[in-house]
């Protein structure tokens, strides 16, 4: 053990210190990989936690809930539930939202606060104190009392007793701060505002109904009570354990999460390549030293252990560095992730990242494991060093040509496997085979790199009569150390492949969405309650308002939309109301499977025949003609699918039902939003003003088609911002790899360069030689990257995104942006050569000759 320690100290620590720049770069690389991994996981965990904390905020003892799906249910149900045996407590809850700080014309100006209307006379959450308050703190009689979190109070500059303005379903309303929820109680989600059930019912037009009942039930009788309650609650409601709903949201977010996780794993893979490279270089450089040590009695096992420990050390230090980076990165990522999650899925607010120690430890162990695995091969090679080869003057790489051919064959085989895997269907909605296929493409392409290096070097040497001596030398060197160069190239290629594939798939999706919007966004104005964001249709505009607008001069037609979120197959989907009579005339929906629009317009109105969104059909494996049973307030209702339509607005799934059927089932004719078609020649700006006026007292946001398109693409680009950030980090890691490789090569060739200088090679030529090599690495990395990237892109477009999100799309290559980023990579690679080139140029002739 002591021998091993001494060995480790002399062989590893000293060396790492002597080569501290390269060590640092390697640490940074693995650190960044781990940081990404940690940040994305933390951000996701926090987004989920903030949703589930809302469920538990009143009391964590709630173990059963009665949920009205997409619609409140009769408040008298509460009495039945309270009186059921073994129900210890049953509390009514109204869920809705208000917007504070919204300004007309700026859809993103307001902050959405979730409102929970509860019976405030019942014991309040521990730590919330209303003592010493006025006589009617909750506004039971004439006020609008609200219990607000410390964060919101700070943000809006409030205190107990002060008032604040908000919009509730587009209507202005004033609340009074009755009490403050301290930070210790508000948990992760501080955007929750508590109001009394009276306030909630009257404010949100929910008089006589409640949205959910939180029950505390004797735990030993949970199953019986659940069954018993199931029999007494009205149709369209269900009795679930609180975790069920969190699971549904988790499932909703799963594809999104897994995709991000996959990208962070690729970044880590690039880091693994670098560790392999670093340890391999250190083995090659110290071959002589190892030989000496073996000669004086160090065993193979000891040598192996020493180098494996080097890898582990990189893993430990790098992972710790990663945890620290990840900690800060998570703060940035959590904003981006929750924003995306909110836009696409559910509304929550996150103040702070929840640092899950288990997750951090997992990431740490994972980083160490990856580092050690990366170090195995070089460590084995070190252990194989013969004691007799004491004084090899140069760490010759073995002749690689045959090995390179074998590796390439293996690589091609992997690409074949990738193709086969890509044909496999999703497992439980996740494109797991698709990810495996992506891994095969990356590894397969990497295995082809050595042959590429050798072939390129030969070609250059054979063709290179016109080249300068520096270029000829660079080509010779390039071919002379194929393995090390291959590693740097492969790392660079993976990073490039990541950029290419992500750019191609995002660009394709964007182009597909643009085409879809052109066909579906054909109304002139889109109207929704102010402060209610994008895809949420569950605001309620009384039916008389669109009626009023239909009668305005210049209006040709008005289409109303309304959606309710209901559970279906373990996830949540939207049941949307629409007027099928207009489907042929105004063509707001693009039907892609089943009956055509004209047939739908003729046959669907008034029936339970529906059209479903393509992502839903894809994920739930539904086809025209299939039946779909959904829980509605009228009980389980069987719908027949008449057609599939394209929808890129969300991947959760939408079922469109005719308005007459919807109104009959839900006894609700209010609208979530509506679109206005202007008569030809109408001044849209003037019409917009007339619409805003006609809707009063409801405050509405009116957007033109142009505005709405801009909003959609703003959301789209924000959603994919995080993937762009990942690209940049991956390329940074890869360029660090190029620096470290070139640096090692230069150091290794000190004597050779010295001799060349002695033989008359100018400093400038030496410098150019290194830069040419950097260029070769950049070009080859770029070429392999483009090849693998296009394959990955196709995989993403036709397999992974389709299986994960259900978005059918077609290939659109962003030629110019791609060319730009490739040029950038090439420049980065050449820049990466500058420092090693300087070092090479400084090598003194005298030293080298003396050594020779």
């Amino acid at each position: 053990m002591k021998a091993l320690l001494t060995l480790f100290r002399s062989l590893v620590l000293g060396y790492m210190w002597q080569n501290r720049l390269r060590s640092f770069v390697t640490l940074l690389a693995i650190g960044l990989g781990i940081a990404l991994f940690v940040a994305i996981d933390l951000a996701n965990a926090t987004a989920i936690a903030s949703f589930s904390s809302n469920v538990n905020i009143v009391t964590s003892r709630v173990n059963l809930q009665v949920l009205g799906e997409g619609r409140g249910f009769d408040e008298r149900t509460l009495l039945k539930v309270m009186r059921a045996p073994d129900v210890v407590q049953a509390s009514p809850v109204i869920e809705d939202s208000i917007v504070v700080g919204a300004r007309q014309g700026d859809p993103n100006s307001g902050e959405i606060l979730r409102v929970l209307g509860i019976d405030l006379l019942q014991p309040l959450p521990e730590g919330v104190d209303v003592r010493g308050n006025t006589s009617d703190p909750y506004g039971l009689m004439d006020g609008r009392g609200a219990i607000v979190s410390q964060r919101v109070v700070d943000r809006l500059g409030l205190h107990i007793g002060s008032s604040f303005a908000a919009l509730a379903g587009g209507r202005p309303v004033t609340f009074t701060v009755a009490a403050i929820v301290p930070r210790t109680v508000s948990a992760a989600d501080s955007s929750v505002v508590f109001v009394d059930i009276v306030t909630a019912q009257e404010l949100f037009g929910k008089v006589g109904t409640i949205d959910r009942i939180d029950c505390i039930v004797a735990p030993q009788h949970l199953a019986q009570v659940k069954a018993a309650l199931g029999k007494i609650v009205p149709p369209g409601t269900r009795v679930v354990e609180p975790a069920t709903r969190t699971d549904e949201v988790r499932r909703l977010l799963r594809s999104f999460q897994v995709n991000l996780a996959a990208i962070s794993l690729i970044a880590l893979l690039v880091g693994a390549f670098l560790i392999y490279n670093t340890v391999a270089i250190s083995v090659v450089q110290r071959r002589a030293e190892i030989g000496t040590l073996r000669a004086v009695g160090a065993t193979r096992r000891q040598i192996f252990a020493a180098f494996l420990t080097e890898g582990a050390l990189f893993g430990v230090l790098g992972s710790f560095l990663g945890l620290i980076f990840g900690y800060f990165l998570a703060r940035l990522a959590v904003g981006a992730v929750t924003h995306t999650v909110n836009t696409l899925y559910v509304g929550t607010h996150v103040d702070r990242v929840l640092y899950d120690p288990r997750l951090m430890i997992e990431a740490l162990l994972f980083g160490i494991a990856v580092a050690m695995i990366s170090a195995i091969a070089p460590a084995v090679e070190a252990a194989r060093t013969q004691p007799s080869r004491v004084m090899g003057s140069r760490g010759f790489e073995p002749r690689m040509t045959r090995l390179a051919i074998l590796l390439s064959l293996g690589g091609l085989l992997l690409l074949g496997v990738a193709y086969i895997l890509a044909q496999a269907p999703a497992i439980d909605g996740l494109p797991l085979f698709g990810y495996a296929s992506a891994l095969c493409i990356i590894l397969g392409a990497s295995l082809c790199v050595p042959l590429g290096v050798i072939v390129t070097a030969r070609l250059l040497q054979n063709l290179g009569y016109g080249f300068s001596s520096a270029a000829m030398l660079a080509a010779a060197n390039f071919g002379g150390t194929p393995r090390r160069n291959s590693l740097a190239i492969a790392a660079l290629a993976i990073a490039v492949a990541m950029i290419v594939s992500v750019s191609v798939s995002v660009f394709s999706l964007r182009a597909t969405v643009a085409a879809w919007l052109d066909q579906t966004l054909i109304a002139d104005l889109f109207v929704r309650p102010m402060g209610v964001s994008g895809e949420v249709y569950d605001a309620r505009i009384p039916a008389k308002i669109p009626e009023r607008i239909r009668a305005l001069p210049g209006v040709a037609a008005v289409d109303t939309f309304r959606g309710v979120e209901i559970p279906c197959r373990g996830s949540l989907i939207t049941l949307a109301r629409t007027d099928f009579r207009t489907i042929g005339q105004r063509d707001w929906v693009r039907v892609s499977g089943g009956a055509d629009a004209a047939t739908l317009a003729r046959t669907l109105p008034g029936t339970t025949r529906v059209i479903v969104s393509a992502p839903f059909a894809e994920k739930a494996n539904l086809h025209p003609g299939d039946a779909l049973v959904l829980d509605t307030p009228a009980g389980p209702t069987s719908f027949r699918i008449a057609a599939i339509y394209d929808d890129y607005s969300n991947d959760a799934g939408t079922v469109m039902v005719d308005q007459r059927t919807f109104n009959r089932l839900y006894r609700d004719d209010s609208a979530g939003m509506f679109s206005v078609y202007a008569k030809p020649g109408t001044d849209l700006n003037a019409l917009r003003t007339r619409v805003i006026r006609a809707a009063l007292p409801l405050r509405v946001e009116v957007q033109t088609t142009h505005d709405l398109r801009a909003v959609v693409f703003a959301i789209f680009d924000r959603t994919f911002l995080i993937t762009q950030a990942l690209n940049i980090i991956a390329i940074t890691i890869a360029v660090m790899g190029v620096v470290s490789t070139l640096f090692a090569l230069v150091l290794e060739r000190r004597r050779e360069i010295g001799v060349l200088r002695y033989l008359g090679l100018t400093i400038r030529s030496v410098r150019n030689m290194v830069l040419y090599e950097a260029t070769l690495i950049g070009v080859l990395g770029g070429l392999f990257g483009i090849g693998a990237g296009m394959l990955l892109g196709l995989l993403l477009i036709y397999v992974i995104d389709r299986q994960a999100f259900g978005w059918p799309m077609h290939l659109h290559v962003p030629y110019w942006p791609l060319a730009e980023s490739l040029l950038l990579v090439l420049i980065a690679a050449i820049l990466a050569g500058i420092y090693p080139a300087q070092v090479a140029a400084r090598i003194a002739t005298a030293d080298a000759v003396r050594a020779e």
């Binding site: 408040e75 009495l79 019976d119 014991p123 006589s135 039971l140 004439d142 009394d196 009257e202």
Partner: protein, 350 residues
């Protein structure tokens, strides 16, 4: 009682003499700010186990305003209303040395809370009081109490001319009467067993508005049922310096039901020990020497269990417990009682 906070002029206020009309006055008086129906008593099970119990219904009016008008202006939620109902249920297991208590709060929505006018019918959630014959029900989890109450004496009206004074201010009074001796029979479900119980109870019914002076922090109240057929009620209002409000008083109810009002100079109550609550850290008096020379009474009042404190979430906590009553000179048992101690945790506002 936190819910009983209010300050307004439009409530009906107990300032003038009041003539009770029964049975109508057993019902609710919703125009007053605060009203309660208070049952305390001593029960004995067939197996000889002894229990003290308390079941209380409170009604509090939030603000004197027209609900119909508020609904017209603001909306029509059935949960809107100016009346709030609360109830407390406590059980003292004398043999087991255990104290159990529960609370409920409700408003009129869905009939969860109600107090009828003109007849005795009060309920909070599933707990109820109905008359006549008078029945009382309270339950929490596996503990349930269902009793019938048979008055053995007519209602004893406290104070003078139907007005019971609590302080020097004009509104510092209530209308207050008691059934000082009720024969009680019923069923108690406790600790997994259903027991037939019987015993003697006391019922208070009291209503008023702004009853306490701002310098009064709470009160010590006791009801003693003597074996000789008489009952004694004492109501002491405390000031922060621990002196007693001079308007504090009591009543002696004779065997035949006649009520003899007692002014503060006609009796003395001396606390003889103290008890510190582990839950609220409040320091309560814990036993008393009670003297009423004109009635030849010199008694020691001792709790049957030290911890009979109701630690509550929606009202201020207070101590309400069953007591023994013994002759101070001979230590002979003279009867049984109940004592209420409020304002030791936080000030009570009525």
């Amino acid at each position: 009682m936190k819910l009983l906070i209010a300050a307004a002029a439009a409530f009906a206020i107990a300032t003038a003499p009041y003539t009770f009309h029964f049975p109508a006055d057993h019902g609710s008086h919703p125009s007053y700010q605060t009203e309660w129906w208070y049952f305390t008593g001593h029960l004995k099970a067939a197996d000889g186990r002894k229990f003290g119990y308390e079941v209380t219904f409170f009604r509090a009016r939030v603000r004197p305003q027209d609900v119909a008008r508020a609904q017209r202006i603001l909306g029509s939620s059935k949960w809107r209303g100016d009346q709030v109902y609360a109830a407390h249920f406590a059980l003292t297991d004398q043999n087991g040395g255990k104290f159990f208590h529960a609370e409920r709060v409700a408003r009129s929505a869905l009939g969860l809370g109600a107090a009828a006018v003109g007849k005795l019918a009060v309920n909070v959630d599933t707990w109820s009081l109905k008359g006549f014959p008078m029945t009382l029900h309270a339950d929490d989890g596996d503990t349930r109490l269902a009793l019938t109450q048979q008055p053995l004496k007519p209602p004893a009206i406290h104070g003078h001319d139907g007005l019971f004074r609590k302080g020097a201010c004009a509104s510092c009074a209530s209308h207050y009467y008691s059934f000082s001796r009720l024969h009680t029979r019923g069923v108690l479900t406790y600790a997994g067993k259903t027991l037939a119980v019987s015993g003697t109870s006391w019922m208070d019914h009291e209503f008023g508005t702004n009853q306490l002076l701002s310098e009064e922090t709470g009160w010590d109240w006791m009801s003693l049922q003597l074996d000789d057929g008489r009952e004694l009620m004492i109501y002491l209002f405390r000031r922060p310096d621990n002196t007693i409000e001079p308007q504090s008083s009591g009543s002696l109810i004779e065997r035949d039901g006649r009520v003899r009002p007692l002014s503060l100079n006609q009796f003395t109550v001396t606390a003889t020990s103290r008890w510190r609550s582990g839950a609220t850290h409040a320091l309560y008096p814990a036993s008393w020497r009670v003297r009423v020379p004109s009635a030849s009474l010199d008694l020691n009042v001792t709790p049957v269990l030290a911890n009979q404190e109701l630690v509550l979430r929606s009202s201020p906590s207070y101590w309400e417990g069953a007591t023994d009553v013994r002759d101070a000179a001979t230590n002979r048992a003279r009867g049984q009682g109940y004592v209420e101690l409020t304002g030791y945790v936080e000030r009570v506002i009525l």
